[in-house]
Structure formats: structure tokens, C-alpha cells
């Protein structure tokens, strides 16, 4: 029957293209870093990776990965509970719990899987999930797979959260779910106030620290550090695929019994390989590095301040943030595409985002800072932004 | 509903359940046997049972009522069917 279906798909793909929503991939031929080479031969400065701490091609992580390849091989060819658990997995789980000040940790193949598999084993139709409207797609999918009653509050709107908590009082357990940093605006969740409300309305909290771990808080422990809530949040999920080395892998860390329950019942954990040993080894090295010194965290914070200050002085409309995500607001979808492509010609690689990824008329360029950026990189980017911004008439 | 009719109905549903879902000759299914919670019928396979009931008894069971609990034994299923037969 494929012919008929083929036509159907072709027309759908055409629609996506006509709407200007077709995703093209740029091919990179170098390791990830502040400077990357594209397959066109062009070398550009990268300002759109989640490589916040600059660890993606870090020598020490590469060394740790190589050592593990020699001692623990390449793959485990098994899920955890059959014969796919290595001593390195256990060690990394302990290290992550130590880093976040939690009781125990469970590793997943990706944070997408951690979020996809966290709700169903823990909550039933008697319970309530109260979720921020801008939470990541993987949280949404996890919630879809769970039978709990769903409540939704407007992004970081504490009045709305309180109203939803009141509505959810008839359920047995309540779980408030929020991203630590929202990836499109870069705003940090008001966890201190969420915590107050959770206390008042008897709810648990889950925070996805994917864009905040390694970034937010003086030592990069995430929003729980920023808001002095270390050890007080029931569930934290996070990724090894962004600041923490950027390869693959995710985790859920938190209360002991919750983690134990996930090990027994969480489907992506039970039915898929864990991270390979070499990724676990690099993860262990990463936590050690972040504990030994605060150099990378300090440098990232400094870079972020430097870039934001100068961009605002240059007249750009920037969303205020405590994360390493700097949303340069342009509002118009076409303008965001035009600006991104002119910047690429100037050797600056950034991405423009527009509806439906962000709300209508809220198009923007999302700049992501990294500890891998040197001041010269930042200056070059600021100059290019200013020049192109002036050409396009978007400076205040 | 008369006792006779009720038993006839149970027998009919039981026969369908066995032919549609049970491959293993060693398994004995009674009116009380839990079907879904003991793994004989998975929730994805319930659709054919639903279609069977709707066609056989000429009723319409709303999706919200076709829950794994309501379908968990022949007795439960017949009770559910009766609710809609009597309407």
C-alpha cells in the first residue's frame, strides 16, 4: 500500500516546508567547542550549543573515556537488571547524589527517558501532577504516560500555581513539576516560592535541572543551590548531555524510596541499555572536576555577565536571566531567520526560534554562553551582533 | 434479567474471551478469572472485545467506561453490558 501513503506523507512534508518549519541540519566536521568547522569548510564561533561548561571535548573527560574503553570495553549489550550494570554505573550514581545533596540516583540512557519514566511508577489516578506550562517536551510525554490527574499553571506564575494546588487538594498526593531553567527564555524557576506553596498545600516537587545543573548557583549545583534548598526537593532530573560533558545520558536523583521504586518499575530503565561504561567514567571525572575547583563555573558566570551587559548597552532587547541562556528578542519570525543567517556569514553560529517553538510574535535568537568562550570570542560575537543589528534596525 | 439469559450471556462472553485471547490449553478461565490484572488480556487487545460486545448486543459502550477494571473478568464484563442493555 505504500504508494498511497507515500503521497500522503509527501503532501504533509510539503506543508511543513511551506509553513517555513522544515528543519535543516547543519553538518559539523570538528569536535564540539567554541570554534567549530562546518562541512562547507567554514569555521564559526558556536553560540548555540548546550556546552555550558565547555566540557564537550575536554581532555580530561576524553582521557577518562579512553581509560574506561580499555578496562570496561565498549558496550554492555544488556539492560541494567540482566547483565548491564557495571561498577562505574554505581559509582557515578553515588557521585551525582553527592553533587546534588540527594539520597540516591538512577541513571537513564537520556534525560528524555528519565522524564518519560518518572511519573508512571510513582503516581496513580488518585494523584495529581501540577505542571508548568513551559516544561520540556519530555516531561509532557512522561505525564501523558501517567494516569494521574493533570493540572497546568502559567509559566512561573505563583498565583496560578496556588490556584491549581487548591483545586488538587482532593487528590491523594500532589507533585509540582518545573524546569529549573526554561530553555527558550532562560528564566530560572522561582523555586523558593514553589517550595513555600508546596509546604502550605502539601505537595512534592520535581525539578528538571537539564539547563541549570552546572550553570545556576555559585558552584553549579543548580536551582536548589541558588534558592538554598539543597536536600529539600524530592525529585531532581538532569542530563549528562548538556553542561556535564554533552555526550548522552540522564538521571533522576532524590529520595531513596523513590529511586528504588524507579529501579523496579520505570520502563525506559527496565527496557533499554543504560549509558555505556565510557560515558559513566567520563561522568565520574566530570563530577570530580566540578568538585575540585570552581574555575569552570566562575568562568561561565563571568562570560554570561560580560556578554549580557554589553549586548544590553548595545541596545538589544534581552530577557533578564540568571542562566547562561540569553534570549535576544526580535519578535518577528522572518527577522529572526534573517539575522541568524547574516550572523553565520559573519562567522557567528546562532539559531533563531519562532512559533510554534516559542509563542507567536515572540521570535528570538537564543544565545548560549559557555566556559569555553574566551573574551575575544565574546567580543567578536558582540561586534557582529551590533553590526547586523544596526543593519536590520533592531537596536534601541 | 432472567437467570437463564444471564448465564447464556456469560457463556457467550467466556467463549469469545477464550477463542480470542487464550492460546494455552492448560489455562482454565472461569467467570471470575481476572483477565487483565493477571495478564491474559493486555489493555491494547481490549478493543476487539469491545467491538465484539457492541456488535453482539447492539449497544454502545463509551470509551470512558471501557476501563481495564470493567473488563477484568467475565462477570464484570457482563455487568457492564447489562448497564447498557437496560438503558
Amino acid at each position: 500500500m505504500y504508494n498511497q501513503y507515500q503521497d500522503h506523507l509527501k503532501s504533509q512534508i510539503r506543508e511543513i516546508k511551506d509553513a517555513g518549519l522544515y528543519k535543516q541540519e547543519r553538518v559539523i566536521v570538528s569536535p564540539q567547542g567554541a570554534e567549530i568547522t562546518l562541512d562547507t569548510g567554514q569555521t564559526v564561533l558556536n553560540f548555540c550549543a548546550n556546552n555550558y561548561l565547555g566540557l564537550s571535548s575536554n581532555d580530561k573527560l576524553v582521557e577518562a573515556a579512553k581509560k574506561a574503553l580499555d578496562t570496561h570495553g565498549y558496550g554492555m549489550s544488556s539492560v541494567r537488571f540482566i547483565c548491564g550494570t557495571g561498577d562505574l554505573h554505581k559509582e557515578l550514581e553515588e557521585k551525582i547524589a553527592g553533587f546534588f545533596g540527594t539520597e540516591d540516583t538512577i541513571l537513564y540512557a537520556a534525560c528524555f527517558d528519565a522524564n518519560g519514566g518518572v511519573f508512571e511508577p510513582l503516581l496513580t489516578s488518585e494523584d495529581a501532577i501540577i505542571s508548568d506550562s513551559l516544561n520540556h517536551a519530555s516531561i509532557i510525554d512522561g505525564v501523558r504516560l501517567c494516569k494521574a490527574q493533570r493540572y497546568r499553571y502559567e509559566n512561573a506564575d505563583m498565583e496560578d500555581l496556588e490556584a491549581q494546588l487548591q483545586l488538587a487538594q482532593e487528590q491523594r498526593f500532589r507533585l509540582i513539576v518545573t524546569d529549573g531553567v526554561f530553555s527558550m527564555d532562560g528564566n530560572v524557576a522561582p523555586l523558593d516560592r514553589i517550595y513555600e506553596l508546596a509546604e502550605r498545600y502539601d505537595a512534592m516537587i520535581m525539578v528538571d535541572e537539564s539547563h541549570s545543573a552546572g550553570v545556576v548557583g555559585e558552584t553549579g549545583r543548580g536551582v536548589t543551590e541558588l534558592h538554598n534548598l539543597r536536600g529539600k526537593i524530592e525529585i531532581i532530573t538532569g542530563t549528562l548531555g548538556k553542561a556535564f560533558g554533552g555526550a548522552i545520558g540522564g538521571f533522576t536523583t532524590g529520595k531513596k524510596e523513590i529511586i528504588e521504586m524507579l529501579r523496579q518499575r520505570s520502563r525506559p530503565y527496565l527496557f533499554s541499555n543504560s549509558i555505556p561504561p565510557l560515558v559513566a567514567a567520563a561522568g565520574i571525572r566530570m563530577v570530580e572536576m566540578m568538585t575540585e575547583t570552581n574555575e569552570l563555573q566562575d568562568k561561565l558566570h563571568e562570560n554570561t555577565r560580560y556578554f549580557m551587559d554589553r549586548m544590553m548597552k548595545a541596545g538589544f532587547d534581552i530577557k533578564p536571566t540568571q542562566s547562561a541562556i540569553c534570549a535576544v528578542m526580535l519578535y518577528d519570525a522572518r527577522l529572526s531567520q534573517e539575522m541568524a543567517s547574516r550572523l553565520l556569514k559573519e562567522g557567528i553560529y546562532v539559531t533563531g526560534f519562532y512559533y510554534p517553538v516559542v509563542p507567536k510574535d515572540q521570535a528570538r535568537i537564543r544565545v548560549q554562553l559557555s566556559a569555553a568562550h574566551e573574551t575575544a570570542h565574546l567580543d567578536k560575537a558582540i561586534d557582529a551582533f551590533t553590526r547586523v543589528g544596526r543593519e536590520l534596525g533592531v537596536l534601541k | 434479567m432472567e437467570e437463564n439469559n444471564l448465564n447464556e450471556m456469560k457463556e457467550l462472553v467466556l467463549k469469545y474471551v477464550i477463542s480470542e485471547y487464550i492460546d494455552d490449553d492448560d489455562v482454565t478461565i472461569t467467570y471470575e478469572t481476572p483477565l487483565i490484572s493477571s495478564g491474559y488480556v493486555d489493555s491494547f487487545s481490549m478493543v476487539s472485545l469491545l467491538v465484539f460486545l457492541e456488535n453482539k448486543f447492539n449497544i454502545k459502550i463509551p470509551p470512558s467506561k471501557a476501563t481495564p477494571e470493567a473488563f477484568d473478568s467475565v462477570n464484570n464484563i457482563v455487568a457492564l453490558v447489562n448497564q447498557y442493555l437496560n438503558q
Binding site: M1, I13, I16, L21, Y22, K23, E25, V27, I28, V29, S30, P31, Q32, G33, N46, C48, A49, N50, S56, S57, L61, V62, A65, T71, H72, G73, Y74, G75, M76, S78, F81, C83, G84, T85, G86, D87, A109, A110, F112, H136, S138, R144, E199, D202, E234, G245, G246, A247, I248, M261, Q264, L270, S272, P276, A282 | D26, G39, Y40, F44, V51
Partner: protein
């Protein structure tokens, strides 16, 4: 929340139910590379024990193959460690494209898209290509990840009896009026080790105008004359609309999966499959390893040939000794014990004898169908298999089940 109060109590009581039900999953910590001989810490904290591994998906023995490891080393040098980005922002390297092309060529399809795992490939494919006007008709024994993918898709679903083609035909007739009908099966079924009748399924799909999806995770690399998978074994290469498979089993065993098939379907996944759009793809170092795996497989069929020989030796040995096996033609050889507790006792006794093989019972397999699932590898040498066989016989004698029929075992140990 007062977490230390009622929530904690609830989870503690659920966990103790799992323990009391005898279905608590204990992990065993492996300190060596994955191979035929491994070193295991179990229970946690005890001394390392050397055992022969009879339960990994390391079918081709490539999980710690020196050439694969060398390729991974080189990959780390040339392409760094992580991408820190999803594919469509700045997470695509040339080697990702190269691997996609290699898979396409190997499977004999039109195009391929990589996913972080086959779990994610299966979780993402249905929603990306079907809507509520369509129907998914799946074999009742498909893998859990397919079930999750179907749960996330708004298309209707129905099932057919395991490998029962008459029943599939009934279902295709029943749903004839749906816009798109997608028939879904595993190529090799992981718990039983049997093979889907793909030739027959292709014929039925043609007749009733349906698409066919095959998850070939337990077949890619070794089933079929040149290891292309179940479609090669059934002589239907080029006729399967969608193949999903993993690099986490025979093909190196690290991580990663893919959807391979019709060009437009793959293109649609790139635009719409959520795990693809919202998660990093396979790390460059893993890609480098998998590329080497394909080099090895393309150069010779030696490994899959050895696997086939090992598997038939193992199957014949167990059968001659008087064990009841699930019939099949794959390296998955389930030894049927029927009773859940017996399967656990058997597994523990084997472990004490230096043989690592896990017992499976409800809800992973149907009630009263408990078993030890053994999986054979090209990494096994004859002495591994002979030792394992001797130990299986020893433990089988201890429990007095050799030569017994199913009824006799059930009589002795209960259903």
C-alpha cells in the same frame, strides 16, 4: 511535602510488596568488560566472582572487540566526546550521516534516522506518522518500547495472536476501512527466540493495503545468511516499510537505535519524532564504534556463522539432556521451568556453579511460563558452552526435572 510521612510509607509498602512477591530486581555489578567471561560483584559488597555469561545480548561478541575499542579511541580524538546539542541545532556531525547511510545500505532500505536508543525510536515513530484516523495492529508479544510508542499515539490499536496469520488477516479485515493500517511485529521475539513470519506478513499487507513495521533489535547483525536480519531470513529484503533496530545489542552493544525504511517516513521522523527533536543523538565516540562494527560485518560472515554453530550446539545439548526448550532458530534459547520460584532457584544455583543466566517470570512472560533465557554469543568458545552445559545438567538433576514433561514439572513444583 511531608515526604517522610505518608508518601514515603506508601513507597516503602509498595517496595516490600515487590520483595514479598519475589519479583524484586537485584542488580549485579560487573567489573570487567562485557564478554563470555565476566567478573561480578553480587550481592553488593561481596568479592568478585568469575562467571560465564549466558544472558547478554552480545550476540556477535563485539561489545569489547579490540577493533571496535580502537575505533572508539580514534573517534574520541577526531570528534571529541559530546555534542551538547540536539541534531537540528548544532548536534549533527558528518559521521552521523555516514552511519545513517551505512545502516541503509546494510538493511537494504531507502533511508535511516538515528535515535538515542531503539526504545526512543519505537517511542517516537508512531506519533510522527499516524493520526486518529489510522490503526496500529500489533503482535501480542511485541517489545515494551513499542507498547509505549503506541500509547503515545492517537491512532487506534488492536492486536493479533502471536504469529497467528489467520488472526492477523481477521484483524486486517475488521479494520479494512481505516485510512492507514500499520502492522507491527518484532523480527525475533526476545523472550521466546522465535522468528516472525515476515514473508506471510508481507503478503497479507499487500493484500489488505497495510504498512509493515518490524523491530529487528534481536536480529540485526546475525539473522539471515549475511546477518541483515529477519527480512533477509524470510526473503523479503526491500519489502518492509519500516525497520527499527538497536546498536545496543549485537552491533557493539553500547547505545543508540534507528528507524530505517521508506524515504518519506524517515523524513517525517526527522521533522516530527519527539525523542529525535528533543534529545541528543548518539555520541560521536559511539558512532565511531558502530561504524567499525559495520566494517567488520561487511568484511566477513565469520562471526554470525560461528554464532549459528554455537547456538545449534547449545540447543541440541540442552535438548538431549532432557530440558524443555522453546522451539526456534535463533541464539535465544529459553529453558522452560514454568514455576517462578523454580526459575529463581535454578538461576541462583547456576550462579553458584559459575554460570550467569537469569530467570524470567510473570509479568515479563505469561503466568506459568517461567524460564531461564539463555543467549548465545559468537564470543563463546566451545569450552564455555561445554562447561555451561555440564552445569545446567548438574543443576537440572539437583531439581529433578531432566526428562520430565511440562505436566510433570508443574505437578512437582506447581504452576
Amino acid at each position: 511535602m511531608s515526604y517522610s510521612g505518608k508518601t514515603k510509607d506508601l513507597y516503602l509498602s509498595l517496595l516490600s510488596d515487590i520483595r514479598n512477591g519475589g519479583i524484586f530486581k537485584e542488580e549485579r555489578f560487573i567489573h570487567s568488560s562485557q564478554a563470555a567471561d565476566i567478573e561480578v560483584e553480587f550481592p553488593s559488597g561481596s568479592d568478585l566472582k568469575k562467571v560465564i555469561n549466558m544472558c547478554s545480548n552480545n550476540y556477535l561478541g563485539l561489545s569489547s572487540h579490540p577493533e571496535v575499542i580502537r575505533a572508539a579511541h580514534e573517534g574520541l580524538e577526531a570528534r571529541g566526546y559530546g555534542m551538547s546539542s540536539v541534531r537540528f541545532i548544532c548536534g549533527t556531525q558528518d559521521i552521523h550521516r555516514e552511519l545513517e547511510n551505512r545502516v541503509t545500505e546494510f538493511l537494504g532500505t531507502e533511508d535511516t534516522i538515528l535515535f538515542p536508543s531503539c526504545m526512543d525510536a519505537n517511542a517516537g515513530i508512531f506519533e510522527a506518522i499516524l493520526t486518529s484516523e489510522d490503526i496500529m495492529i500489533s503482535d501480542r508479544l511485541v517489545h515494551a518500547s513499542i507498547i509505549d510508542g503506541m500509547r503515545l499515539c492517537s491512532a487506534q490499536h488492536d492486536t493479533f495472536k502471536h504469529s497467528n496469520m489467520e488472526h492477523l488477516e481477521e484483524k486486517l479485515l475488521l479494520h479494512e476501512n481505516k485510512r492507514i493500517k500499520l502492522v507491527i511485529t518484532d523480527g525475533v521475539f526476545s523472550m521466546d527466540g522465535d522468528t516472525a513470519r515476515l514473508d506471510e506478513m508481507v503478503r497479507l499487507c499487500d493484500k489488505y493495503d497495510a504498512l509493515l513495521l518490524v523491530d529487528d533489535s534481536h536480529a540485526s547483525g546475525f539473522i539471515g545468511k549475511t546477518g541483515r536480519g529477519t527480512h533477509e531470513y524470510c526473503n523479503v529484503v526491500g519489502k518492509i516499510d519500516i525497520i527499527t533496530t538497536t546498536f545496543g545489542k549485537a552491533l557493539g552493544g553500547a547505545s543508540g537505535g534507528c528507524v530505517s525504511g521508506r524515504k518519506e517516513i524517515v523524513e517525517m521522523c526527522r521533522q516530527k519524532a519527539r525523542p529525535y527533536l528533543f534529545s541528543n543523538t548518539i555520541a560521536p565516540v559511539i558512532v565511531s564504534g558502530v561504524l567499525k562494527v559495520f566494517d567488520i560485518l561487511s568484511a566477513s560472515t565469520e562471526r554470525r556463522d560461528k554464532l549459528e554453530k554455537n547456538a545449534s550446539f547449545w540447543r541440541a545439548g540442552l535438548k538431549d539432556a532432557g530440558f524443555i526448550l522453546k522451539e526456534g532458530n535463533t541464539p535465544i534459547v529459553p529453558v522452560m521451568l514454568f514455576n517462578a520460584k523454580l526459575s529463581q532457584d535454578f538461576s541462583r544455583d547456576l550462579y553458584n556453579e559459575g554460570i550467569y543466566a537469569i530467570g524470567f517470570f510473570f509479568p515479563v512472560v505469561p503466568n506459568g511460563q517461567a524460564r531461564i533465557r539463555t543467549q548465545i554469543s559468537a564470543g563463546h568458545e566451545m569450552h564455555h558452552l561445554q562447561t555451561a552445559l555440564d552445569k545446567f545438567v548438574k543443576v537440572g538433576k539437583k531439581h529433578g526435572i531432566l526428562g520430565l514433561t511440562k505436566e510433570q514439572i508443574i505437578e512437582k513444583y506447581g504452576q
